[in-house]
Every structure is written in structure tokens, then in C-alpha cells.
Amino acid sequence: MRANTNLFWILTVFMVLAATAYTVWSLIWYDGQLEWVGTVAISLTAVLSAFLAFYLSRVHKAQGAELPEDRLDANIDDGDPEIGFYSPWSWWPIILAGGGALLMLGLAVGFWICFLAGALVLVAVVGWTYEYYRGYFAR
């Protein structure tokens, strides 16, 4: 986890340097005119890296100790906790994907299709969110 955090901090420093160099270079190259696309994009890439580094360092601090996968003396079964809830199978993601595809098709060929697609997306989102909250296996 420490390595992950450090990697993102290194990326942050690199992106800050790159943004500075890019900005100065564009000012020289275009005679005092800023090139906004690269300046904004590279600066915000630095923000993105710092954001992830900060978050991972907070998570690392909150977990209290090193995870088994970060320890040289850990065994395989030490890293076998309950990781979370994963649906064994579900039809809803593919229905949602179909709805999204239909939505794009509607934008391309005829807007009336979007209304049908919107309804399908709505049904898929609700179906997916509540899949394990109704019926026999309701939580």
C-alpha cells in the first residue's frame, strides 16, 4: 500500500513539473500566449494523481496494519478474508448496456428511439439496484 501511495505521489510531482514546463514552453513558443488545452489537462492530471495518493494514504492509515499481500512473511490463506458482496450472475448489466446502446442509436438515427431507450435504462437501473432487495433472496 505504501508503494501504491508513493507511486501516485511520484506521478503528482512529475505532472506538476510537466505542467510547469509545458506552460513555460507554450508561452515562449506562442509569444506570450498560453496554450490552454495542455496546461489545464496536465495540471488536472497532477490533481488526479494527488487525489488518489492522498486517498490511498488515508486508507492505509485507517487499516491499522499492513495487509497480508504487503508482508513478506504472510501466508496465502492470510489474504483470504471476506472481500465483499459479488453477484454470482445477473442479467441487469447487459440490459443496461443494451439500453445505453439504444440511446446512442436514437441520437444517431432518430430521436424517438431515445424515449424507448430511456425507459429501458430506467428499468435496468432500478432492476440492478434492487436485484438483491426483493424476492426470495432479499436482504
Binding site: Q33, L34, W36, V37, T39, V40, A41, L44, T45, V47, L48, F51, L52, Y55, L56, V59, A62, Q63, G64, A65, E66, L67, P68, P81, I83, G84, F85, V125, V126, T129, Y130, Y133, R134, A138, R139
Partner: protein, 196 residues
Amino acid sequence: MVQRPNTVAVGTIVWLGSEVMFFAGLFAIYFTLRSTNPGAWAEQAGVLNVPFAAVNTIILVISSFWCQFAVWAAERGQVKRTSWAPKDWGLTEWLFLTYAFGAVFVSGQVLEYATLVSEGITIDGNAYGSAFYLTTGFHALHVTGGLIAMLLMLGRVFAVKNFGHKEATSIIVVSYYWHFVDVVWIGLFFVIYVLK
């Protein structure tokens, strides 16, 4: 005992990182169009109703605080209020309040758009209109998505038999998203309304 990082929370943060880059693209569009069309900005940016937008911004920022109260209630495992005093509110009440403030923000934006269109700023009118409606419009779509997510979470809270860790996690990641959308709007507000 090692507290394993929550995969849903970490995944959400990584996705929000990618959202930062999506808005980076929009900011880049805005700044590029502004630097190539100074005339359009000089002419049209003055039309904006800054006090109105400032009030709307404050409403959105306050909704972020309500959202955090909902998260604390979810972490306590308190779903419903025990009395009408705000300190006894559960996550349902706080989330409804967040929703109301978010909905006021989006409605305010709709009103602002309607006024601006009547004053001649349209998305296909010139570069300023395109930049303005693309940036604020994509942000408004994100806020609307957050509102829908909140409704789904409220529905879950009502549907679940035992409010547990999984439901609390969903509420917490929705709050991450909500805070992100809020911070992006503060950036947009300063760029579009203050800097002009």
C-alpha cells in the same frame, strides 16, 4: 486486526479520478474557446446573473453538508429519526434534505438557462454559448445523476430488512460523488462567473 480497504469505496474514488479528467476536458474546451474568441466573452459574459448563481452555489455547498450528516447517520446505523430535532435525525431525513437542496440547485439552473436563452445566449449561437452550456450542462447532468442515485439509495433503505454494512457503503460512495460534483461546481463557478 487489519481493516481491509473497502473495495467499493476505493473503486468509487478511482472512478471519480477519471471524472476529474472528464471535467479537465471541459475546462480545456472553455479556456481554448475563450482565448480564441475574446470578443464573444466581452460581449456575452456580462449578461450572467452572478448574484443568482452565487445563491445557487451556496445552496449546493450546503447540500454537501447535509449529505455528510446523512453519512454520519449511516455510520451510526441510524435509518430513521427518533424525534424532529435535527440531532436525532436518521439518514433518511438528511438524505431527503440533501435531495431537496440539490433539486433546488438544478431547478435554479433550468431557470437561469431559460433566462439566458431569452437574452440571446444559445448553445449554437457562438463560442461563448457553446462553452457555457457544455460545461454547466454536463455538470447539471452529473447533479441530476446524483439526485437519481440518492432516490435509489432511499428506496433501498426502505426496502432492506436489516440496514447493514453494504447499504451504509452505498450511501457513503454516493456522498463521495456528491462532494465531488460540489467541488467541480465551485471550480466552474469561479471560472465562469467570477473570472469570466
